[in-house]
């Protein structure tokens, strides 16, 4: 490539990065603004963080978002893993039926899934609140968990579990000791997808919850009309948590990869 072209490309990429990151930086800066304005920076202060910490609704929203995300991740990962293993041993017709049904919440616009749940809960006269919110999150997380585990199961040798059982392992033991460890990467990525889906969800939660149970998305949505810089403070907290989470994840996977590399090297040296 000619240097001139490369400069042109780099400039364009910088513009794209500015477009993607300016709003995030803007939010973080204005969360420390001393005035109520969203456009003029009047000096550094942490008053919006104090206000957020004293706002019951916001604190509750952070609490509910985390509790729902953690519970939905654990439950959907367990159900999804068991279902995926069962499906891999079932006949084709059943498998494709379940896969088709799983496509519904993944392909449908969220608003359609949301109003469906809204009508369903009210048809059963269920009080909407924490329980319905959690049910809805588990419902839309499971298909993603199954989807991320299925490819791993397909490449798994079906004789392994069989062999374990021939050697006297109970089916439960064969499942835990033989099948699960081999599909672990799929389970972990499924759990991560479930957590982020649940943590970020707005539309389905908006229709599936009630009785004052709100997550972070719903709080931002309901407070949007008044000028309220504590939303910026809340956003900054979300951004900071996410950044820390991503850094930890990357460091962790780098450490794991390095350890595996070292182990392999040692094994190779031993073999020699």
């Amino acid at each position: 490539m000619k240097p001139k072209k490369r400069v042109f490309g780099t400039v364009l990429m910088i513009l794209v990065v500015i477009f993607l990151y300016a709003p995030i930086v803007y939010t973080v800066i204005f969360s420390f603004n001393d005035s109520k304005s969203l456009t003029k920076f009047a000096g550094f202060s942490t008053r919006w963080y104090t206000k957020m910490a004293n706002d019951r609704d916001m604190k509750d929203a952070i609490y509910y978002t985390f509790v729902v995300a953690v519970l939905a991740t654990i439950i959907s990962t367990i159900i999804g893993t068991l279902t995926a293993i069962g499906l891999s041993k079932s006949n084709k017709i059943l498998r494709s039926c379940v896969e088709q049904v799983n496509e519904l919440p993944m392909m449908n616009p969220d608003i359609v899934t949301g109003i469906g749940l809204l009508m369903f809960f009210s048809a059963l006269h269920v009080d909407k609140g924490f329980a319905t919110l959690l049910l809805a999150h588990i419902m839309f997380c499971i298909p993603y968990v199954i989807l991320s585990i299925m490819p791993k199961l397909r490449s798994l040798d079906p004789n392994l579990a069989e062999a374990a059982m021939d050697l006297g392992a109970t089916p439960m033991r064969a499942l835990v000791k033989v099948i699960v460890p081999q599909i672990m990467p799929g389970i972990i990525s499924g759990a991560l997808i479930a957590f982020t889906m649940s943590f970020d969800d707005f539309v389905i939660s908006y229709f599936a919850t009630g009785n004052g149970v709100k997550n972070i998305s719903i709080i931002v949505y309901t407070m949007r009309m008044r000028v309220n810089p504590s939303i910026n403070a809340l956003s900054t907290v979300v951004i900071a948590l996410l950044t820390i989470g991503l850094i930890l994840y990357n460091v962790f996977s780098a450490v794991v990869a390095r350890r595996r590399e070292r182990e392999e090297k040692r094994l190779r040296e031993q073999a020699e």
């Binding site: 490309g9 364009l12 990429m13 794209v16 477009f19 993607l20 990151y21 300016a22 709003p23 995030i24 803007y26 939010t27 969203l38 456009t39 159900i79 068991l82 279902t83 293993i85 069962g86 891999s88 079932s90 059943l94 379940v98 049904v101 392909m107 449908n108 616009p109 969220d110 608003i111 359609v112 899934t113 109003i115 469906g116 749940l117 809204l118 009508m119 369903f120 048809a123 419902m139 499971i142 069989e162 089916p171 499942l175 982020t196 970020d200 707005f202 539309v203 229709f207 972070i216 998305s217 931002v220 949505y221 949007r224 009309m225 939303i231 956003s235 979300v238 951004i239 996410l242 991503l246």
Partner: protein, 278 residues
């Protein structure tokens, strides 16, 4: 292996209750009218007649399709170059670039959208900067422009990633072959790179167009309470107007349009690939 097969039964029951039943409820409500209880259900097309005979509803539907189409085209134009650039960069930088592009999508959609409310204000940073070169101020907040900017901002990374993925699968020797056969850079892009990235373009289009058609929080936050797209209309019939039957009918119409357009894009994808193989 029978023992393992049984593990699917709980989920099958669960899926029938929490996935299939709500969808059937939408269809049931869409074909009935208010005041009908389940015992005396009378099926009617009244809701659909109401929708298609009122120009107001059709206007909202057309506006949604227009906004989604503009967003999709803009994402395609803005997203192709970054995808190309990343696919061409060295292995070491590839993963970093992908992380840079995807990072914003991990942040809550509402948070990302709210961030634009300050930027697009009459005395916001864009109008201030335009003022330095003697332009503006333009009214941007609570306009269609703000809605489209918000949608492009939220959905652009999906387009970039899809195109990038299809570009990395491309065999680099094809470009060398095109070069050897006398094609210039522009020709080889048009005849080799572009057709080979078509699957990525098509999945990028679906990933942008579908959420753009049905979105209701972006138009509501950046377009203001008066600005209506199909998603907002459905929300209103459920949350404030309380006519679930008509709301269900609108969502059914929207779902059918979306399924139909996905079917079309898939068909285009298949025929294009068939021609490429032939």
């Amino acid at each position: 292996m029978k023992q393992f097969r049984r593990m699917t039964y709980p989920y099958i029951v669960w899926a029938l209750i929490l996935i299939v039943a709500p969808m059937l409820l939408i269809v049931l409500y869409a074909f009935t009218t208010k005041g009908n209880d389940v015992v005396t259900t009378k099926f009617t097309l009244e809701n659909f007649v109401k929708f298609f005979s009122d120009p107001l509803f059709l206007k909202v539907l057309l506006r949604s399709l227009k906004v989604a189409a503009i967003t999709t085209v803009a994402c395609l134009l803005l997203g192709y170059f970054p995808a190309y650039y990343i696919a061409r960069s060295s292995e070491k930088f590839k993963m970093r670039w992908v992380l840079i592009i995807t990072f914003p999508t991990w942040i809550n959609l509402l948070v990302r959208t709210y961030a634009w409310t300050g930027i697009l204000q009459d005395d916001g940073i864009i109008n201030t900067m335009l003022g330095w070169i003697g332009l503006g101020p333009y009214e941007m907040m609570y306009t269609e422009f703000a809605v489209i900017v918000g949608m492009i901002y939220n959905f652009l990374p999906f387009m970039v990633l899809q195109i990038y993925t299809s570009l990395t699968k491309m065999d680099g020797s094809l470009l060398e072959a095109a070069n050897d056969l006398g094609a210039n850079k522009f020709q080889s892009f048009l005849r080799v790179t572009l057709p080979l990235s078509l699957p990525g373009i098509i999945s990028g289009i679906t990933l942008v167009f579908l959420p753009a058609v049905s979105s209701f929080c972006i138009p509501n936050m950046l377009g203001g309470g008066q600005y209506m797209l199909v998603g907002n209309m459905i929300e209103q019939y459920f949350q404030s107007a309380g006519d679930w039957n008509f709301g269900s009918a609108i969502s059914l119409i929207m779902a059918i349009i979306i399924i139909f357009s996905m079917y079309l894009t898939k068909k285009v994808d298949v025929t294009e690939r068939g021609e490429a193989d032939a």
